[in-house]
């Protein structure tokens, strides 16, 4: 199954019956899959007039209490920034997929990780975060999409799956999760479904004209973020127990990095891989565990160096942090990464 299709199927199995999108390469298979499958299960696939409209439809469906999703690729995700900010401000759950391509501007259509900053720092205006998951296999595309809906509902927040063109387009075997019947999902008492004169009217809103009131709500939201940071960090470590050189990489880049780490081990270099699965919250706990043996960190990314900021913050000066990346849609090769690992190993071994 293609990564894009696995993601779509898995979202439906999580009880998502509403999909609003707009065509853009390289995420289009996801929308196509939804358009084919949604009508068969009584769901809604709607091709919106723009990404802006699509994310605002997500806002509306979420307000109405449904599990809802949209997907796009980098330039389209920029357009969705508005709606995501409003969702965060109105505490609405929903899942946003970004199958990244090279940028800035129209950029290219080859796989890239150039939206790390956007996803983790500034997906829209205002003071907010959203959980960001970075799958690295087709199986993980399915698993994380499935779980994203639970996280979104639990914390009443938009959640992003940050994939890339390579993960979206590639086929790998996948075991799909068990389907959930949307009718069995917990009620959302805050949703705007019509009050039937049984309760006061519900309001979904992000406008607060009194500064004190808005501050209070933002502080409360950050208390929720603190729980997410504590509870939802996820990472995979590979051969890091005794690693001198700790490679940090996510998504497609982590696949390359893993090959490079294996090759380095064959050469006797103690290399390991820390693979963040959550980009926000950044897995500082998993990174902390690598500090005792690490002599150097190497962030490997498909951009000009974005996640490396978070690696530096987490390492906090306790070891040097290096970066290797390719940009514009170029995928680094294991050999390039291996070369950098070996060079770093020699340097810190001196």
């Amino acid at each position: 199954m293609k990564g894009n299709e696995a993601l779509a199927e898995s979202a439906m199995r999580a009880g998502c019956r509403f999909f609003f999108g707009y065509p853009i390469t390289p995420q289009t298979e996801l929308a196509a899959y939804m358009s084919k499958r949604m009508p068969k299960v009584g769901g809604t696939y709607l091709q919106a007039e723009s990404e802006v409209a699509a994310i605002n439809m997500v806002y509306g469906a979420a307000a109405a209490g449904a599990r809802v999703m949209t997907s796009s690729s980098s330039p389209g995700v920029s357009l969705k920034g508005e709606g995501v900010s409003y969702m965060a401000g109105a505490d609405l759950p929903g899942v946003i997929i970004n199958i990244q391509r090279g940028g800035p501007g129209l950029g290219g259509i080859q796989p890239s990780q150039s939206d790390y900053w956007q996803a983790t720092r500034a997906l829209g205006h205002g003071d907010f975060h959203i959980p960001v998951y970075a799958p690295s296999t087709v199986q993980e595309m399915a698993d994380l999409a499935y779980g994203a809906f639970d996280v979104a509902d639990k914390y009443r927040t938009p959640v992003m799956i940050l994939g890339d063109g390579m993960l979206g387009q590639m086929m790998e075997p996948v075991v799909l999760p068990e389907p959930v019947d949307p009718a069995t999902l917990p009620e959302k008492p805050w949703a705007t479904t019509g009050h039937a004169h049984q309760r006061p009217h519900n309001v979904i809103n992000s406008l607060y004209l009194t500064a004190d009131e808005l501050e209070k709500l933002n502080v409360e939201r950050y208390e929720r973020y603190a729980v997410i940071e504590r509870e939802e960090q996820r990472a995979e470590t590979y051969l890091t127990e005794d690693a001198d050189v700790v490679v940090v990489a996510f998504g497609a880049a982590s696949r390359v990095a893993r090959s490079a780490v294996n090759a380095a081990r064959e050469r006797g270099v103690k290399a390991g891989l820390l693979r963040p699965v959550t980009l926000w919250p950044f897995p500082v706990v998993a990174l902390e565990a690598t500090i005792p043996t690490a002599k150097v960190y190497l962030s490997v990314e498909m951009n000009m160096g974005q996640m490396v900021d978070d690696v530096r913050l987490a390492v906090n000066g306790r070891a040097p942090v290096d970066f290797y990346g390719r940009t514009g849609g170029v995928i680094p090769t294991p050999d390039e990464v291996l070369e950098r690992i070996c060079a770093l190993s020699e340097k810190v071994g001196e």
Partner: protein
């Protein structure tokens, strides 16, 4: 070395290199192995060059993008020229000589030419040169059990084109014997 096979299949869009790669991937799936299939995508699909990376392995697969293939299947001259020099030492190149008129020898690499397009056409299997080459690829590498190839074809041919299943199987045999 673990039993890992990395393949690049390349040609013009429409020749079916992605489909041939998909059959390999399904063969891996049927035999419960680790596999990945990664296509080129975008404007390349519109009649330009197309290629895909397939990896079959017994270990979890690192990068699914094959940069140094064990096997190259080339269905046109530009693809042959583009990839011939990155084929791994000891690797195999299978080329459709109808489409790759200028085969280049490389030391340490076995280059096999098969006039796949015309073979297919003569056997009444027009358009299945890709599958003929896949048959040859199987003959050279035995990347799965023989019966698995046929089973994978049954999985990959969409139901509305079920009539083509037998033709694809014939094309495999044709390639193996070529």
């Amino acid at each position: 070395m673990s039993r890992e096979l990395q393949i690049v299949l390349a040609g013009f869009g429409g020749q079916g290199v992605l489909f041939a790669g998909k059959v390999m991937a399904y063969a891996g799936l049927i035999e419960n192995r680790e596999l990945s299939w990664l296509p080129s995508y975008g404007p390349e699909m519109r009649g330009g060059t197309a290629n895909c990376s397939v990896t079959l392995s017994d270990e979890p697969i690192g990068s699914p993008l094959v940069t140094t293939p064990d096997v190259l299947v080339a269905m046109n001259q530009p693809s042959f020229d583009k990839f011939i020099d990155v084929v791994r030492e000891g690797g195999v190149v299978i080329a459709d000589t109808d489409m790759v008129p200028e085969l280049k020898e490389r030391e340490g690499v076995k280059v096999v030419g098969v006039p796949a397009t015309s073979l297919a056409e003569e056997a009444g299997l027009k358009g299945l040169g890709n599958i003929v080459l896949l048959g040859k690829l199987w003959a050279e590498t035995q990347f799965c059990e023989r019966a698995t190839v046929d089973a994978a074809i049954e999985k990959c041919v969409p139901p509305r084109k079920a009539a083509l299943i037998d033709k694809n199987k014939q094309a495999i045999s044709l390639g193996i014997e070529a």
